[in-house]
């Protein structure tokens, strides 16, 4: 009897945590979905990943300018030369553990790359695309 209660308690405590590693991205998508979006699409995300926008300093920037086109490979920041660990979920799950961290980098990088924040739809599509890589 005691064992059964113990086992159930463990399961209850552990279950949400086991899923956590991949669910920060899904968690965010659920939030975006309440902000008037349509179903998220990896295809749209991928297309926008390569969309170049002219920056204020004159150069053209897209996500792949620094992260590269093959997301299973590391990238390099075009200006600072910072080494960027791969973005693909399949090789770098680390990136998808904390919602706060994902949101922080969306905010910074959307502004740096496109000169504006990304919409909920765009962020949801990007996550769909990155999770599929």
């Amino acid at each position: 009897m005691f064992f059964r209660i113990f086992a159930i308690a463990c399961a209850v405590i552990l279950c949400p945590q086991m899923g956590q590693a991949q669910n920060a991205a899904r968690e965010l998508q659920n939030i975006y979905a309440t902000q008037g979006t349509v179903d998220f699409s990896a295809e749209r995300g991928g297309a926008k990943w390569g969309l170049e926008v002219q920056s204020k300093s004159g150069d053209r920037r897209s996500c792949s300018t620094c992260h590269g086109a093959d997301l299973t490979q590391a990238g390099q920041h075009i200006k600072t030369k910072k080494h960027l660990e791969p973005m693909a979920f399949s090789v770098n799950k680390e990136r998808y553990i904390k919602t706060k961290k994902i949101e922080k980098w969306f905010k910074r990088n959307c502004k740096w790359t496109w000169g504006r924040e990304c919409t909920a739809q765009e962020k949801g599509d990007f996550l769909e695309y990155l999770l599929a890589q």
Binding site: K100, R108, N109
Partner: protein, 187 residues
């Protein structure tokens, strides 16, 4: 005899006052006792600062710039264009980092190198680049462009830890310098 007791009293007095007003780093009394710990620059010992700032570049010990410089750099608006990069932080994290950095800025530090940095900056000036600080400039004037800008493993003088092998510990001594593709620094 009387003179001596006055002297002792004065010494005790200094220590007490010192330990109260010594700031964040360590009291004046401790500073007097522990010479070995007051060389160099105090290493970064703040997890959030190390994580957030260190995510993009070497996490510069706060003792490398005076508070007025840090206040310019760590302004919420300024961080949106941090030397061309967006380095925005959320309000709570920024406040936490500001508190740490301001309390450990160069003029608040008893570390020798931090004090030299403070002294080398003319009154009223607040450089936003560590590489613009007179003391730092003087210390690096022998370096050639090939060693720094033209060196693919260094790129910029701001990459302290490219050559200063113990930069993470706040140690910048000559003996610890190893320039990639050039070798150990030899005076």
């Amino acid at each position: 005899m009387k003179k001596r007791s006055i002297l002792i009293l004065a010494l005790i007095g200094t220590s007490v006052v010192g330990s109260v007003s010594g700031g964040e780093e360590q009291g004046f009394a401790q500073w007097m006792m522990t010479f070995s710990r007051t060389k160099e620059v105090k290493a970064v010992d703040h997890e959030l600062y190390a994580e957030e700032c260190g995510a993009c570049h070497y996490a510069f010990p706060p003792g490398l710039l005076p508070i007025q410089s840090w206040k310019k750099l760590l302004d919420a608006q300024e961080l949106e264009d941090h030397f061309g990069e967006n380095a925005e932080l959320d309000e709570d994290d920024l406040k936490n980092i500001q508190e740490y950095v301001y309390a450990n800025s160069s003029e608040k530090s008893y570390h020798k190198r931090a004090r030299k940095i403070t002294r080398s900056i003319p009154e009223g000036e607040a450089p936003i680049r560590i590489t613009e600080v007179k003391y730092i400039k003087r210390k690096h004037h022998e370096l050639t462009d090939e060693m720094v800008k033209g060196n693919k493993d260094v790129n910029s003088l701001s990459n302290c830890n490219a050559c200063h092998t113990q930069a993470e510990e706040g140690v910048f001594d000559d003996d610890t310098v190893d320039i990639p593709n050039f070798g150990k620094w030899d005076d």
